[in-house]
């Protein structure tokens, strides 16, 4: 707080407290004419007269007590300008104390689960429930509350993994994030005609209805160019994050126009890193939950 603002606040506070005290003290006596009927202030509204009867003394003493309370408060707590109070209280400090309190209470629970490998956690109902809640709060916005994803967001409940579905791979994905990067190689594979041919071949790889002649032409381009990342048999490379093109799972859309777009414009997809959002123990639990989804669908989660 700048000196100017601090002085402004100090001035206001002093003015108010001193003002209230002066008001109480200065008005403790009043001159009245005992012969005058009633103690009218002279204001009259619809025949109702406003009288000036004395305030009860106990009410006044309560007011005095609030002034004393205010003075004590301003000594102990922040409020008098930039003076931070004798007790050194701050809202940040109180927050930190609550965080420490929570860590002390919940830390052991997290630590106990963090010590167990993900395979063991598959049998721990409470660990999966906790992981499910973390998932609901952090992951379900993109991956859906049933974790089946959508266009651009992988389905976490199936057996297909772009970057590997082992416990370590899942944890790495969540912690560090992932980048999906397919370069636009349409020009290299022969422009629009090449893209159309390669599309038919790719469709044939997952057993979908396709044009056989075009697919044969497309296979030649695929073997030359695409197999570098997607492997010769099209099963993909978890090291690179290149998808398995034979599984009929289409993260970015499986219609012909979607395949064409991938080759023409490329794909840039990102899973954000969560190491600054979740603690390692929380990542461990949510990874267990995600791992459990591909091992069998949970009936209902809390």
């Amino acid at each position: 707080m700048s000196l100017g603002w601090s002085a402004f606040i100090i001035g206001l506070i002093t003015l108010n407290i001193v003002g209230c005290a002066w008001l109480l003290w200065g008005n403790r006596n009043v001159k009245i004419d005992p012969n005058a009927k009633g103690n009218s202030t002279g204001h009259e509204y619809d025949g109702i007269e406003e009288l000036n009867n004395p305030l009860p003394a106990w009410w006044t003493w309560l007011f005095v007590m609030t002034i004393i309370y205010a003075l004590i408060y301003l000594v102990l707590y922040p409020g008098f300008g930039h003076f931070s109070g004798v007790l050194g209280w701050s809202s940040g400090g109180q927050y930190q104390a609550e965080v420490d309190d929570a860590d002390a209470r919940f830390g052991p629970i997290f630590a106990a689960y963090a010590a167990q490998p993900l395979d063991a956690l598959l049998r721990e109902e409470r660990a999966l429930a906790m992981g499910g809640r973390i998932f609901g709060n952090n992951c379900s916005t993109c991956h859906g509350s049933d974790a089946r994803g959508g266009q651009g967001y992988p389905n976490l409940s199936d057996q297909e993994w772009l970057h590997g579905g082992t416990p370590d791979a899942i944890k790495h994905t969540i912690t560090e994030g992932r980048n999906g990067n397919m370069p636009p190689l349409a020009m290299v594979i022969g422009g629009d005609a090449g893209v159309a041919d390669v599309s038919e071949y790719v469709l044939s790889m997952s057993g979908r209805e396709h044009d056989a002649a075009a697919a044969a032409r497309g296979k030649m381009q695929f073997d030359m160019i695409c197999s570098a990342c997607h492997q010769a048999d099209g099963t993909g490379n978890p090291m690179l994050g290149s998808p398995n093109l034979t599984d009929n799972v289409w993260l970015h859309g499986g219609r012909r126009e979607d395949l064409a777009r991938a080759m023409n414009q490329g794909i840039l997809n990102q899973m954000p890193s969560h190491k600054k959002i979740l603690t390692p123990e929380q990542i461990h639990l949510v990874a267990a939950y995600v791992y459990s989804l591909s091992k069998g669908t949970p009936e209902s989660s809390p």
Partner: protein, 486 residues
């Protein structure tokens, strides 16, 4: 801030409280802060006071016994703030039903208005917690320190051992009453059978200590020390009750026609010969008044309708042989001689409204079905479309079991579209708990370009054990606009 005289100017010769300053020509300096003059009500007994004490015992009985009630082995009246469930005997209320509390308060207010229109400030004098508790504290005060004269002598005298002893005993008893109130009060929010051992072992959390201390201090101050000051200066009802009176409301008033002119006389004398009315100016009605007013001056806002003056004058009048009490329940019309009808349209209107609302409230409360359903659609993406053009919508059904026993519920749905349900069909929920059920509705690819008029989906959840416990909620099925690419 002590004043020399009261700022209240009174007519010379009238019997105002404390009397006024002698008439003078010069303006006087008086204190703007009126020092509180303690009121020493005289103890009185009679028909109305007996009736009041019976009402007091009933009200206090309900308050004190409430937390001890048991229903099915659990506390009968339990306002569980921690779990946000209010249990009253056989039924439990959840926050979603908060509107019922609002209606209850509305009905309570209407009951208050009805009673006021009918019988004036009878709530103040007979049922208000401040009055009821003040009477308890006053009874203790009278028992320890004696009746009016003894108390005035004690307070007017020196601070000797006897005075200290009496005050100490009185305040100790008051503190005991105050803590009995706060413990009972907290007993409504924390089962009293668990609370008492905790107090005995002094194992109380910070909030519990505050909750036990604050009402006790409040009660001690308000009912013990401040008494009528609460009615004068703190209570809003005192100020607006006058707008609910009309000329037929029952009020306590002094029969001026019979009583005036006032004056003392021998018992054997004939008042008519002396040119006097029935009032012997004994001031007993003033001395018994807990708010320190003179009811003979007319109805005042300070009068709480406790009918102490009625019983007091009844006593005196029967002793003098003059007939009925000069101070009695009457109405303005009756006093003025104009035709008075107590049972009038306003009263009947208020009372009917109360009856109707109460009946409606009772019906709504008794026909509540102990189940809750919320449908949370996935909103970040309205729908999920697959390579074969099939469209999925994801829903999370939150089922709340508001019954006292566990239930297994079955989920069904109805829709104008040929949707396929994917997900668990049953969910088991413990009593008082909630469960989340993630499900999907799928529209197959070959149908997804069709036009459908109804896009609503109705989910139906029903208990398998008790089919009468069921609930329906409507949601929607979203899909890309027909004919458009995604």
């Amino acid at each position: 801030m002590s004043g020399t005289t009261s700022i209240l100017t009174v007519e010379p010769g009238s019997s105002g409280p404390g009397g006024g300053p002698p008439p003078s020509e010069e303006p006087v300096t008086v204190s703007l802060y009126e020092k509180w003059r303690k009121i020493y009500p005289l103890w009185v007994s009679g028909g109305f006071q007996t009736a009041r004490r019976i009402v007091l015992v009933i009200l206090l009985g309900v308050f004190y016994l409430g937390p001890w009630l048991q229903w099915n082995g659990k506390p009968g009246v339990f306002f569980d703030l921690q779990h946000r469930q209010f249990t009253i005997l056989w039924t439990t209320f959840v926050p979603e039903e908060f509107v019922l509390l609002a209606w209850l308060l509305l009905i309570a207010a209407l009951v208050l208005f009805t009673v006021t229109v009918a019988a004036g400030r009878v709530f103040c004098g007979w049922a208000c917690p401040q009055t009821v508790w003040s009477l308890v504290y006053f009874t203790i005060e009278k028992w320890v320190e004696g009746d009016r004269n003894a108390r005035m002598r004690l307070d007017g005298g020196a601070w000797n051992a006897r005075r200290i002893r009496k005050k100490a005993l009185k305040y100790t008893l008051w503190a005991a009453v105050a803590f009995s109130i706060s413990i009972t009060f907290v007993g409504y929010f924390e089962p009293i059978r668990e609370l008492l051992p905790k107090i005995a072992r002094f194992e109380l959390s910070g909030w519990e200590k505050f909750a036990l201390l604050f009402p006790a201090v409040g009660s001690f101050l308000m009912s013990g020390v401040l008494r009528e000051q609460v009615c004068f200066h703190m209570c809003p009802y005192a100020r607006f009750q006058s707008v609910m009176f009309d000329h037929d409301s029952l009020i306590i008033s002094y029969d001026e026609k019979r009583g005036d002119p006032r004056g003392s006389r021998r018992r054997s004398a004939d008042p008519a010969e002396l040119g006097l009315g029935s009032c012997i100016d004994c001031r007993k009605c003033v001395n018994v008044c807990p708010t320190g007013i003179d009811i003979r001056d007319g109805l005042q806002y300070q009068c709480i309708g406790c009918a102490a003056c009625v019983d007091a004058c009844e006593d005196v009048m029967s002793t003098m042989g003059y007939g009925e009490s000069l101070v009695r329940y009457s109405s303005q019309n009756r006093d003025e001689g104009t035709p008075s009808h107590w049972l009038r349209p306003r009263l009947i209107g208020y009372a009917s409204l109360v009856v109707v609302l109460l009946a409606a409230f009772a019906t709504v409360v008794s026909s509540r079905i102990p189940i809750g359903l919320d449908i949370a659609r996935d909103r970040n993406r309205l729908y999920r479309q697959s390579w074969d053009d099939s469209v999925e919508n994801v829903y999370t059904l939150r089922v709340e079991n508001r019954d006292a026993v566990e239930h297994t519920y079955r989920v069904d749905f109805e829709s104008g579209m040929p949707l396929v349900y994917e997900g668990p069909r049953t969910v088991h929920v413990a009593a008082g708990k909630r469960a989340s059920l993630p499900i999907r509705l799928v529209l197959s690819g070959d149908l997804s370009h069709q036009e459908f008029t109804e896009e609503d989906v109705v989910f139906h959840v029903q208990s398998e054990a008790k089919p009468e416990i069921e609930i329906e909620k409507t949601s929607r099925f979203h899909r890309p606009p027909t004919g458009e690419a995604r």
